[in-house]
Symmetry: C2
Subunit: 599 residues, 2 copies
């Protein structure tokens, strides 16, 4: 497929429309390489700033880091304003949209995170309340949001999304995440990739702040477990707060830690959406858009009840854990044992559920949709990539137990926990990836059957997907109503059929409608099981997201790995891998939500 | 595109041939997820073993690490033997091949690295000569090679590759890298991905050994530059050698360090080839195979002379550097200043050359080949990914210079050097990526012209690509000879043309041949310039591969970054980024070789 050349100024051109036009054009592949390399340089430079700040590099203060982040955000803001202005000016042009990008789960998590994000005063530095940049930064993010809200109230969105209009006012991406930019403008590529890596840097910054905070808490706790030979001082911990209402400031600083997980998720979600936007630039769209299926909640009582039970239990376990850990050696060990036992039980259940789901797919053999969709490919890659982060932690624990010279009793629970954590993610990923690549349930079989019926009656068949929908509730009556009149009404009018043939056809009809009843019922039963599994896994993944996000991290408190690997190496491993582990749960829950809507 | 189901046993099936067959089948997407997750787990577990060994984890010795690596290699060996046996048994089946995989540059680097690899006694642990595993490991690798040689002498290779037969006997990949496994066997996927990650682990192991060695040398040198406040002991340095001929052992240990870079390149090359093999499993092949163009060396005198000059100069600079560095403070500073000045000059030349190349492409506007080819995509991604590693180092230097409180004069050279290192890689990547996506030069225009001539004379035109070939040498005579007789000889025989028309046609011929002379000449001149640029860049990249690979690493010896970031953080950054930086140069040279053959 040849690339269409792009001009750097002027109205947008569709691929091929301006072929061989201006000399200033850049082929798509080259524009991609240009912008991705720019983005990587921004990211790498930013990471080094973060590293320099984290290791207290000489001549490098927090002020410099915040200066860089602010400059990057300003640049992103300017670009977004420019893009929105351009979109507004050309709002009458038809623009192709990628129906897979900015999926439904993103909207759900978006509402969660954006709302909670707005509550959080700034990205990780409310403690230094007087500094210029910590005021500037939330202001900037607010500006971005306000300006986007203004743009999005302009009635240029496609009508199909009007139902979700109230949600679409939240953010730039809400309106543009599905855009397929066809003008190949180099400036747009640069702007999008700049935004991707700026968000990733903000994410890294938040993760670093959160890690420092957790590390400090951990050091305080660790001594109670008897691993007291740590000489490192507490880092960046509770600095004096010198802003005007000291109580408000202290409350903000305290509250922030509970809003951190949302901030972190928010930034990585924004990155992924922007990345899909970038990948979509210049993509040729095929006409087929996925069937939009609504969110139906009937028939998932078992799955959601189990899942909600797990969620409640997790909240309880986390509360007990946080109260007991670090109080005394005995209490800490009891808290750890409780957490491990609970997690083992939950992971066993989840693994079994996911295995059942994969098994059902194996029995119900079907071809998968293998078309290349950037959003879906990114989702799968993120799942496996984020899981790798948590596998690093689990393998570390396994290795530590194998190598340790003394093993306190509670550390033995660590072994099945780690093994199960690996296995559960492995199976769950398989289930999600296969679900994402399946064609929506219920279509092909029904279409095939109704075609056979059409041969008998010669009339146009009505919409066939009803069977799938009604099957959810478990009854097959509507389907029969739908098939029978069509067959009855037309059989008598067939001119070429003799009396015997008509009888045979009637008998045939009887055979068909009874034969159909079983597969349709079976299909609906399978779908019901799959929906219950998905609902259960969805709630369980949210459950397992809570403990590490809110400071219940046995990898820190366990102490065994630190003895084997040494304090610093293990802390580095945990701090690198933990953000991915947390992100995995959130992303898996989001993907499962999407899977649920599809089944 | 629906996936073809795969059976786990029995003869290979082509996609679609066994659709809807056995229940035991696994869709392609699922098999990919299954195997890639397995591979990632192997890799992650292996990395933690390496980490545990590197940080001297309690209860974890070199013996355990080598045990793991040996087990992984044994598993790979068994799989390879099984695969080769199966291939031999089914040698009469036509198997599709990916003409892009296992490209020409791989063969060239393969001969280099494999030969030098065989000279190197073992993967980084000849110093502990008596241990079981250090004997087992090279034995295993030898076994693999011998068994593959046996398999490859069986005459089952496609005839098109018989020219390269002598090369193909070296290794498994030599015979199978181009395979497109169509049977979708789950076992094959697992085997290939296991091999990929085993090779990556061996690479990581080599890199770790090399880093430890460099770090020890660095610590010894550092004190001479006045940065003497380092309290860390030398690690794993020159342990007592207790094998029977001590002099041989010592010589081996010494010589090994000069063969290390080849070992490292060998393993990562094997990984990339295996990864392409894995990505190719189940791919549907399009009929078009790329034009095989030979290696022509005419007309690149300027580029190769400049490049060889650079290569010779680099060897001199490295020799002087290694002799002077660490002798005294003054000598070290002089060596650093010399290295920086030389590298600045070379990078400036390289950047200018690559920019000229990109500029020529921009003037000569052409559509790019955007088809999805796993091998080419991997090459581009590796280039950009490996460059990111070296960008990390360069940005670190820039940040260090910006933050440092005292800056000795020689550190100032570091700034332009780092900036140029970033810019040069940026531009060079653009040049290589665009070259890789261009259709081979010279075809379209010539074909178009000859088609016009064919309208006149009604005869079949002879091969048109000659113009391009002769144009390389700068003369257009052969082309004219080729076109003129065809036109002359056939014009008189045209029955439908009147006298006037024939005259017009002759005039037309004259117009065409004179009109063609200029573009063809211009095209050949452009091609000549591009070839010279590519040859120059190829040799320069080899030049710049030498210094870091053989211990000339100013990032270590400079001292400035260590003062700013602290010793340990900076050493960790360098040890993580340096392997990618070294790999970048090798990979860029290889890609440029491929580009050269294509132009």
């Amino acid at each position: 497929m040849p690339a269409a050349p792009a001009s750097t100024l002027g109205p947008p051109a569709y691929p091929g429309a301006r072929r061989g036009g201006a000399r200033s054009s850049v082929p798509q592949k080259l524009a991609e390489a240009l912008s991705s390399q720019y983005g990587l340089n921004v990211f790498v430079a930013g990471l080094l700033f973060l590293l320099a700040w984290a290791v207290h590099a000489a001549g490098m203060g927090k002020r410099d880091l915040l200066g860089l982040l602010t400059a990057l955000m300003l640049l992103q803001l300017f670009w977004m304003l420019w893009y929105m202005g351009r979109s507004y000016a050309q709002r009458r042009l038809i623009r192709p949209k990628d129906a897979h990008a900015g999926a439904r789960w993103l909207r759900v998590s978006w509402v969660d995170t954006a709302v909670l994000r707005l509550l959080s005063p700034s990205t990780g530095y409310p403690r230094s309340c007087v500094r210029l940049f910590s005021v500037l930064e939330p202001l900037l993010q607010g500006l971005v949001q306000v300006s986007v809200t203004i743009r999005d109230t302009a009635p240029d969105g496609p009508k199909t999304y009007s139902k979700n209009y109230c949600f679409r006012e939240v953010y730039f991406l809400w309106g543009h995440a599905k855009d397929i930019i066809q003008s190949f403008k180099t400036l747009e590529r640069f702007g999008v990739i700049h935004s991707v890596f700026t968000n990733l840097l903000l994410w890294a910054n938040s993760v670093l702040n959160e890690s420092k905070h957790q590390l400090n808490e951990h050091k305080e706790r660790l001594i109670t477990l008897g691993f007291g030979n740590i000489t490192i001082e507490l880092d960046d911990h509770s600095p004096p707060c010198n802003c005007s209402p000291p109580r408000l400031c202290a409350a903000l600083a305290q509250g922030m830690y509970y809003l951190y997980p949302f901030t972190i998720e928010y930034q990585i979600l924004a990155s992924t959406m922007l990345f899909v936007l970038w990948k979509n630039i210049g993509r040729s769209v095929d006409g087929v858009s996925p069937r939009r299926s609504g969110l139906r909640l009937r028939g998932i009582l078992a799955g959601s009840a189990l899942g909600l039970g797990a969620l409640a239990a997790t909240l309880g376990v986390v509360a007990v854990y946080l109260v007991h850990i670090g109080r005394s050696k005995a209490k800490s060990e009891a808290a750890l044992a409780m957490f491990y036992l609970y997690a083992i039980a939950l992971l066993l259940l989840m693994g079994a559920a996911a295995l059942l789901g994969v098994g059902i797919y194996r029995v119900d053999e079907k071809s998968l949709d293998e078309s290349k969709i950037p959003a879906r490919k990114l989702d799968s890659d993120l799942l496996v990539g984020a899981a790798s982060g948590s596998w690093l932690l689990s393998w570390g624990s396994i290795l530590a137990i194998a190598c340790a010279e003394t093993r306190p009793p509670y550390t033995w629970y660590n072994l099945p926990y780690s093994v199960l954590a690996i296995a559960e993610k492995y199976i769950q990923n398989l289930f999600i990836i296969e679900s994402a690549h399946r064609e929506p349930e219920g279509l092909p079989e029904d279409v095939c059957t109704l075609r056979v019926v059409t041969v008998y009656n010669g009339a146009a068949a009505t919409d066939s997907s009803r069977c799938g929908d009604s099957g959810v509730a478990g009854d097959t009556a509507p389907q029969e109503q739908l098939v029978q009149p069509a067959v009855k009404g037309s059989l008598g009018q067939q001119p070429d059929l003799g009396r015997e043939e008509q009888t045979e056809a009637r008998r045939g009809k009887g055979v068909w409608s009874s034969a159909r009843r079983t597969p349709c019922f079976r299909g609906s039963a399978k779908r019901k099981v799959l929906r219950n599994i998905t609902a259960f896994l969805f709630l369980c993944n949210i459950s397992l997201w809570i403990p590490p996000a809110f400071g219940c991290r046995p990898e820190y408190d366990n102490g065994l790995e630190e003895v084997v690997f040494g304090f610093e190496p293990w802390i580095i491993v945990v701090n690198l891998a933990m953000p991915f582990s947390i992100f995995y749960r959130m992303h898996a829950a989001a993907s499962l939500f999407e899977v649920y809507c599809k089944i």
